[in-house]
């Protein structure tokens, strides 16, 4: 999946480590999600959306093609 997580995170001035701590996951998880190499579980995607105050589809979108 494609995502706008890096932009959203930078808008808030959060580091990857800070976001990882908010979510209760490892920093490597945040890195892998941002690179599009790891699709989060639904509960984790919901928590991500909750942290940024938006809907899941505002962060993630199916990869084109």
């Amino acid at each position: 999946m494609e995502n706008v997580l890096p932009q959203l995170r930078k808008e808030r001035g959060w580091s990857q480590q800070h976001l990882a701590e908010l979510l209760g996951v490892s920093r490597q998880t945040v890195i892998s999600i941002e690179k599009g190499r790891f699709d989060p579980s639904l509960p984790l995607a919901f928590r991500l959306a909750q942290e940024f105050g938006c809907a899941i589809e505002d962060i993630f979108a199916p990869r084109a093609g």
């Binding site: 701590e21 209760g24 996951v25 490892s26 892998s32 790891f38 989060p40 579980s41 509960p43």
Partner: protein
């Protein structure tokens, strides 16, 4: 300081026990209990003829060898993860968990393949192998396969 930082500083390197009210370090019961379990294993092994020529040496050697793993096992069983410094709140949702799951799934298929091929080779050649050697081989394939796959998954991320 943030709440997550407060929570982190209240945690300890070895964590605390998950039972009782003392909230003692998890290592406090793990060391004596682990060594005790190892000593029991060593004594039982000596009694059933592990080292018939020198049972005391055999019992002591096995106790020494098993102490580390048994202390680690008791520590893992009695430790409350939420009190361990650096422990993730949701490890099951982290990418490392997915690497591990994929690695162990792949290792299962590797074990099936290698076991099948090895069995065919033994049947054709008529070779007989001890059960302990077979189990050691299966264990080695499991560890090598899962470990290698985990490292590959990590590098891909």
């Amino acid at each position: 300081m943030s709440s997550s930082a407060d929570q982190e500083t209240s945690r300890s390197r070895w964590g605390r026990v998950r039972f009782g009210r003392g909230r003692a370090s998890a290592m406090a019961p793990a060391i004596p209990l682990g060594i005790g379990v190892a000593a029991v294993i060593g004594a039982v092994a000596a009694l059933v003829g592990f080292a018939p020529e020198s049972p005391w040496v055999g019992a002591f050697s096995l106790t020494f060898a098993m102490s580390g793993p048994m202390v680690a096992l008791v520590w893992a069983l009695c430790m409350d993860r939420s009190t361990l410094r650096g422990a993730l709140d949701r490890p099951e949702e982290s990418v490392e968990s997915s690497w591990y799951d994929k690695a162990t799934q792949g290792a299962f298929h590797d074990v099936l393949l290698v076991s099948g091929l090895a069995l065919a080779a033994l049947m054709i050649t008529g070779t007989r192998v001890e059960g302990s050697v077979v189990l050691l081989g299966v264990l080695a394939v499991c560890l090598v396969s899962a470990g290698t796959r985990y490292v590959i998954n990590r590098q891909r991320s």
